[in-house]
């Protein structure tokens, strides 16, 4: 892209590119890209288009799909109360887990940003949950921790609070999933740390000279300069938050209970597709989800212009 057809050649450029050479370069480029392109079309775009077709059919996985037009979409919005339960659970999960996870990540990143003996070890230790966190094993540990006879109740018992099974009660079950999500704060934490390292030290010196306290420095210097990184984390975590599946699947025994309180959207989609043999309906759900998630992501991007501060904004 650096070369332009009519522009003056750059001073130290080698031979000017000929059309033949440019074409062979393009070919080479596509050859190098081909593994990714094959993957994209074969594993992502192809199946996606097929699922778009399936979303307009009645397809039970075993017999040929049968065209039903908009029926799946109509049913989703008008005749499936469980669908709305799952939407509600998913939104609740995302709007609580994402801010909590980001807050924890930022808090820990701020602590780990200080120069202090052994800070490298702490950074590694705090990252460990993220390596383990998405796994089935940890979900099972969580299930046990928060169960009726779990360690959490043991601890509460020590201070005289009567426990209960946190995962069996619909008013707290989703909360345990939120905690599990927040516990996996390692990835955004590392990104926050990188962002914190990039803030020029002069900024803090200037703030200190002006007599700013710790909180004022954080609010007026750190946060604005960190906002692009915060924004990046927010976008990724929002998308990941809406796609939560594994923990809900494992902790609820694959059913989204109690009382559908952990029936996250993707879990319901899976149950419809593979439990009820309604792959057409599940495909329609996936497409509605894709569009809804696209809109949410677009809104987050839009909101960025209100609060994300790019250091070089003045230059444009």
């Amino acid at each position: 892209m650096a070369y332009t057809v009519n522009g003056p050649p750059a001073v130290d450029a080698p031979d000017p590119p000929t059309p033949t050479r440019r074409r062979s370069e393009a070919t080479a480029g596509y050859v190098f890209l081909s593994p990714w392109l094959l993957g994209l079309f074969g594993i992502t775009v192809g199946p996606m288009l097929y699922s778009l077709y399936l979303s307009f059919t009645d397809y039970d996985l075993l017999q040929d799909p049968e065209w039903v037009g908009m029926e799946n979409y109509v049913r989703m919005f008008t005749d499936d109360p469980t669908y709305w339960n799952s939407v509600q659970a998913t939104v609740l999960f995302a709007v609580t887990s994402v801010p909590l996870k980001l807050a924890v990540a930022l808090g820990v990143a701020l602590l780990l940003n200080r120069q202090r003996r052994g800070v490298g070890v702490y950074r590694a230790l705090y990252y460990v949950p993220s390596l383990l966190g998405g796994s089935v094993a940890i979900a099972i540990v969580w299930q046990t921790l928060f169960g009726g006879a779990g360690a959490i109740n043991g601890l509460l018992g020590l201070v005289g609070i009567g426990g209960k099974s946190w995962i069996a009660d619909p008013s707290t079950a989703l909360g345990t999933l939120v905690l599990l999500a927040a516990w996996q704060f390692g990835a955004p934490m590392v990104i926050f740390l990188a962002g914190l390292k990039q803030i020029p030290a002069e900024m803090f010196e200037a703030a200190a000279l002006d007599g700013a306290g710790r909180f004022a420095t954080f609010w007026h210097v750190t946060l604005p300069l960190l906002s692009p990184v915060l924004f990046f984390n927010l976008v990724l975590e929002t998308i990941a938050g809406f796609q939560g599946f594994t923990a809900a699947f494992v902790i609820s025994g694959g059913q989204g209970g109690p009382a559908d309180s952990t029936l996250l959207y993707t879990l319901y989609l899976y149950l419809r597709g593979f439990g009820d043999f309604q792959m057409g309906y599940a495909s329609a759900m996936a497409w509605v989800f894709l569009i809804a998630l696209g809109i949410v992501t677009a809104l987050v991007f839009r909101s960025g212009s209100l609060w994300v501060h790019y250091a070089d904004d003045g230059e444009r």
Binding site: T44, P47, M48, S51, L52, L54, D58, Y59, D60, L61, L62, Q63, D79, P81, T82, G147, G148, S165, I167, A168, D169, P170, S171, P228, F231, F232, V235, L236, I239, A240, Q243, G253, G254, Q255, G257, P258, A259, D260, Y270, L271, G273, F274, G275, D276, F277, Q278, M279, A282, S283, A286, W287, F289, L290, L293, G294, T297, Y310, A311, D312, E315
Partner: protein, 442 residues
């Protein structure tokens, strides 16, 4: 524009975001032509590896493995790959593999999916093998009928069982609260007994688990009211029936007879590993009588079986599980031969005991009865006593029966946790059940 690294973030972010969103929608299916002749003889003269799937606990895994080993000993070319798990999520897994064309060759099912699997041609019609590979003479026609859909045999009854309550003798006997062997004449009496137990135990352990979300107990209760679970492809009950059921359990919870919903909830998925009697959280819970073996293995307490409360006609002799052959399996004929081995071989019958339920073949049953342990004798005597007075068998459940079970779990939990009144939960249950059944049959 200067090349500071910050503005670069934007296109990067956009790309990352788009990719993350794209990763959402992707599904597929596969197909493999069925080129095997129905009724062909089993292949045992060259290597065949069959996969076998079932749900259950460790006791079942152990004795099923024994039977498969016996078969391999007789036919060294035939080997097995096994997969087993708890009941909850079992069918999702089978369905998923079936969608990919790689379901297990021999699949244990129960009648909740029989009609569905047969209509979708997931399981093979066993008819062509009857008489040659599959011997059915020693199995009662009544039991054989439970494996038929539209008069074709799709599923071989693995065993029969009946509805019961498992109770904890070790806890109840010292309290002087052992129920009569014949159970309770009415549900009111049962509730009063259970409340007394909870009271005697200081309210930390409950008389009975809250079974309001359990379709296996809801069914005998309905039958006692002269209704059935299904009327063809429609629910055989009304909102009033379900309201009465949920209200009865609300009363039991209020009086302390039944455990709170949160104690009951973990085993609403049907996993025997989460049974509340073996977990010592309640002194009684619903159980099929064959599960007695597995339950006894999971506790150091002595357990007993008691009939379901109310008139005896609620219970019936039920096919506890079936063995079925995947219609597109690697070698359907050999799979059928293995199924035949499970049913008709005496050594296999001895290895299986009554863990799945009573042996379907009367010949095998008679042959192995003398070797039964006291526990197995107890289960088989209980089963005989109940079945003698039990009601008629209901027809094979409607297509979509497993969905019914899940919907009752939702209704029971919503009412149990006070999120909906019994009336609201019942109305939603019946309306959803009606529309799901209608859809499942298309």
């Amino acid at each position: 524009m200067t090349m500071s690294d910050r503005p670069l973030l934007r296109p990067l972010l956009a790309a990352a975001a788009v990719l993350a969103v794209l990763a959402t929608a992707a599904c597929g299916g596969g197909s493999r032509a069925d080129q095997q002749a129905a009724g062909a003889p089993p292949v045992t003269d060259r290597p065949v590896e069959l996969s076998v799937a079932w749900w259950g606990g460790p006791a079942r895994a152990e004795n099923t493995q024994k039977v498969l080993d016996l078969y391999t000993k007789a036919h060294p070319n035939v080997t097995f790959k096994t997969q087993w798990q708890g009941y909850s999520g079992y069918y999702d897994k089978i369905n998923t593999t079936a969608a990919g064309g790689t379901a297990p060759d021999i699949i244990q099912i129960d009648n909740r999916v029989l009609r569905e699997y047969a209509n979708k041609k997931l399981i093979a019609d066993l008819g062509p093998w009857i008489g040659s590979t599959l011997k059915v003479d020693a199995v009662s026609p009544k039991l054989m009928g439970t494996g038929k859909v539209d008069d074709k045999l799709y599923a071989m009854p693995a065993a029969s069982n009946t509805q019961a309550l498992a109770i904890d003798k070790t806890v109840l006997e010292p309290l002087g609260l052992l129920p009569p062997e014949t159970g309770w004449a009415t549900w009111e009496e049962f509730g009063a007994w259970s409340a007394k137990v909870t009271g005697a135990l200081g309210g930390k352990v409950w008389g009975v688990r809250d079974e309001s979300a359990n379709i296996s107990l809801f069914e005998p209760w309905l039958r006692q009211r002269g209704k059935q679970l299904y009327d063809g492809q429609k629910p055989g009950f009304t909102v009033d029936d379900v309201t009465a059921w949920l209200t009865m359990w609300a009363g039991f919870r209020a009086s302390g007879a039944a455990s709170p919903a949160e104690v009951a909830q973990p085993s609403n998925g049907g996993d025997i590993a989460k049974n509340t009697v073996t977990a010592k959280a309640t002194t009684a819970t619903f159980s099929y009588d064959n599960q007695f073996t597995e339950l006894s293995k999971a506790t150091d307490h002595t357990l007993l079986l008691v009939p379901v409360p109310g008139p005896a006609v609620g219970a019936y002799s039920r096919p506890s599980q079936f063995y079925t052959a995947y219609s597109r399996g690697k070698n359907v004929a050999t799979a059928v031969d293995v199924i035949n081995f499970f049913i008709n071989d005496e050594a296999a019958g001895a290895a299986l005991g009554t863990e799945r339920g009573l042996p379907p073949s009367s010949k095998v049953g008679d042959a192995i009865a003398p070797q039964f342990s006291d526990q197995l004798k107890y289960v088989s005597a209980f089963d005989k006593r109940i079945v003698d007075q039990a009601g008629e068998n209901p027809p094979v459940p409607a297509q979509g029966d497993s969905k019914m079970g899940q919907l009752l779990v939702s209704a029971g939990e919503n009412a149990g946790f006070g999120r909906k009144t019994p009336q609201e939960a019942a109305a939603e249950f019946v309306s959803q059940a009606t529309s799901e059944l209608e859809r499942a049959a298309r």
